[in-house]
Symmetry: C3
Subunit: 388 residues, 3 copies
């Protein structure tokens, strides 16, 4: 028994199977088939390996972003001069990846809780007290109706009074100087699978360069300091328009790193696009209300601001690729499989479409006898073959 | 030599190899094998291509979200009427994708820095000054102990005074009207690989529709305006409960776009789920403290609010698929490989389990002689074959 | 005709093709080939299936994070004692996944709009009014120049006055007590493809454990309560350094869930890393300006704070894997394909490098006659074979 196993083992290791093949000498089928096979080979090498880099694995970056705005704006209204710095015009303060730079506003000073007439725009008009049901809210209104119609014009409401009148948006925008504000972006990405950490302050961006540079898509594509006016125009908006009514802009930082090359070649690409449009048509318009609360003469008051501004969202899309044996072998394996498809296609032509198809069939196929009782004789014939 | 190359070249192009095969006529093995092959074929076509769409590549969306709450709430406590608008009850103001809608609160007015007794709950009690070590902090305390035990009840502390008493949470919630607040969501996604940009304001959602619509999972599944009460109940909470103690809700916007179809079919699907639970059991409870600072009589004071509310996080999960030649051919290649597996399985049956296995072996295999010295005679025999 | 189809159908189902193969008995080539085949088999089973888990599909988590800081700090400057609680030192308040814990600050009390001299640091010096062009801004300045040079030292500007002097950063940091602040993190992830929801409050983290536990990478790796000092030191910073000038830290929560195992094994792993460095060298420095506005004697004033602190960003990287038939069969299919490669390689050796290569060629290949006119005679010969 042991001997038998040993023999089988030796047999197994001293021989190997290789398919028997027919070399079909038919120029037409041959050329067609070779071209097909070369096509498959070209596809595997050219497309899968060179174009799509099928020999690499991909990892998505984990990213963090820090931002800092700089710049000062000056306004003058009714003889009151006012200066706006970062703490005044950026919301929120902390330098996160999405924030608003105020470019225009409607300010209502000294609101306090009380009763006052509703804003006299069309949707809130009344002719008698019956139009102002006590305790009700109008969908377009700013407060709770007291039941009184004032001067046959608008309902009296309980609200923060006076009500903010936001019917006219200042034009030109009050903080038009925002065009010259600068934005500094610090972006750090890490590829956990590959153990690589990169920052957008790449090798060529040192502290000396940072002091003077300003982003320019062609001349200074790596400078992480952006003029707000440039961001707006590069995203396809007009600054004068967006500054008045507000708008949303995405700053896309794209990292496409081939880690088989030097790490210095792994650099960010900045692009800009208007957000919230449909079918690549960006729409303007962005505002929100914010209030500053204070106490005056023991009464709680607030300054309500309707802020129009540029909402900036920094979106990081980081991908790195590196050689890996698994996708390489999977691609090769699939390639060999597709090679088999080429042979199958050629066989279909050879066995069904060529005039001498029956001849080729006899070459390619060897049939066992159809009836089982014929077995004996065939077996006898067959056994001759090995000693042929 | 050149002639030789030319000839080899012609040979190569005028012929092709195709494996020689045995047509095994054995009904039992044949049927089993055909069924196996048909199964593989059905799997490749049905599952890989039709169900899993293995002929497409997938891209993940880059998304940005803008939100806007609307609604007014009225409270009355101790005869003081008060109206709450968006600037009062939404944190933060700017319309970002995660925010809190206040539904209940504990307000402590006019806190200033000073010395006052600690909150007299069980964990801060004292019987003598020895229990209140000067300069120490209690883990459950609100300030720095001065070393005095007041009225044998609680330690005196340096803190914002008076200390906020948050032992009783108002019930019913003070801003129960929040149930009728509405939330408008603007969501824009882009698939950078396919160059497609979409907004949740799809073709059927125009400005007329927006003015009147209200989201309903069955009747108006595309309307991007949501009632807060609906959001809460659709995520499986009771509004009265969550409004009192707060809670976290995720609004999931799912995009499953097949870009081989018309772009109009690429629409969002909204779903709602309670967050922070375990094993799909969501738990209520969400609060934070926020302070409004002001100066009164040259003393810095603050109004401390413990805010209970609905924390909403909008999560976008966008995926698009499009036909691509690479995954198609990879799937086909793998399929051909698996076809090979079917043949291997059939061969195992044929060569080891069928009674006439030795006969089939002689058909399938042709052995070269075992001893190398026998080579000559065999070679002689073999050379006859091509001219056979 | 119908009979013919039926017969073809029966034929198709009662037979199957299997390639004819040569069993090459050549110890050298045989051993080489077997080793190659075993290598491929080991690769498929060991690497693809066991190491890379090629039989599973992967899904990325949708995650939401809630945070809560706890702790109290005490400062004393110029005899004024002050206590800082969460509402004072965390920005923003709402417990989002990225926030700042203030550890140091420069406070400028009572700023109001007016005219005052610019900060007298080197970059803003002047010798005469000509150096201070009216209406201009200096890049390093804090306001709009009025055209006057005060005391031949610095330009007068319109600004929030007095100008904040941030030339000296307090050392030691004012809120050094921040080292003992604790951070509680609630993280919930869901894998939409698998319908699984998990929270970082896993089975072993119950409410009793939460009351006393403190994260320790070795002893208590699942406790979701972190000491700020530990976070800083685990990310490779010195607390005294980062507390003075600020810094950015990423808390990475990694979920690697194998859903073929019990769900209890799906637990988070916390790690800490300094952000914004390059080549894994983290750099310190983080600050922002924030203002608190109030009205005093009918004049709008503000308290400007330059806040230095630890910016914490919680990054969740969740991945789950589960058995799926598609990748399993794709891996098998590719494996069979690669098996074919092994045979091709052996064939190259056999047919080109072995002395008796011509002999093996005649075994493996059967040629059809080169000239088409020879067909007849060959066909005659060939037709004998099936009845051989």
């Amino acid at each position: 028994m042991r001997n038998f196993i040993k023999e089988a083992f030796t047999d197994f290791f001293c021989e190997y199977e290789t398919p028997r093949q027919v070399l079909v000498r038919n120029p037409r089928v041959g050329i067609a088939c070779r071209i097909l096979q070369l096509g498959v080979l070209a596809y595997i090498i050219g497309w899968v390996f060179m174009y799509e880099k099928g020999y690499q694995v991909e990892d998505t970056a984990i990213s963090s972003v820090f931002t800092k705005m700089k710049g000062i704006a000056y306004t003058e209204s009714n003889g009151t001069e006012r200066l706006w710095d970062v703490a005044d015009y950026v919301f929120p303060d902390q330098g996160v990846s999405s924030f608003v730079v105020m470019t225009n506003f409607i300010m209502t000073l000294g609101q306090s809780q009380g009763k006052c007439p509703e804003l006299a725009d069309g949707s809130n008009s009344c002719t008698s007290d019956a139009d102002c049901k006590k305790g009700q809210y109008k969908r377009t209104g700013n407060g709770r109706m007291t039941g009184t119609c004032i001067n046959k014009t608008s309902c009296e409401i309980l609200s923060w009074c006076p009500v903010q009148d936001d019917r006219v948006i200042p034009k030109p925008p009050l903080l038009a100087a925002a065009e010259n504000f600068t934005l500094f972006i610090k972006n750090s990405i890490s590829f956990p699978e590959f153990g690589v950490v990169r920052s957008n302050l790449v090798e060529s961006v040192d502290s000396t360069y940072l002091k003077t540079c300003l982003f320019d898509p062609n001349k200074q594509p790596l400078c992480p300091i952006f003029k707000l006016g440039d961001i707006v125009s590069l995203s396809g908006f007009k600054f004068s328009e967006i500054a008045q009514v507000g708008g949303s802009i995405g700053i896309l930082i794209e990292w496409e790193c081939n880690l088989d090359l030097r790490i210095e070649k792994c650099i960010p690409k900045y692009s800009f696009q208007g957000l919230y449009g449909n079918n690549s048509q960006a729409s303007v318009g962005y505002n929100f209300r914010t209030a500053k609360y204070y106490t005056e003469d023991r009464i709680q008051k607030r300054t309500l601001m309707k802020v129009f501004g540029v909402y900036i969202e920094i979106i990081v899309n980081g991908k790195a690729r590196k050689f890996d044996i698994i996708p390489t072998l999977t691609a090769i394996g699939s390639g060999v499989g597709i090679f088999g498809v080429a042979t199958v296609v050629c066989d279909v032509v050879l066995l069904h479409l060529v005039p001498k198809k029956d001849f080729y069939k006899t070459l390619k196929f060897k049939s066992t006898p159809e009836q089982e009782q014929e077995t004996d004789s065939v077996e006898m014939d067959q056994t001759k073959e090995p000693t042929q």
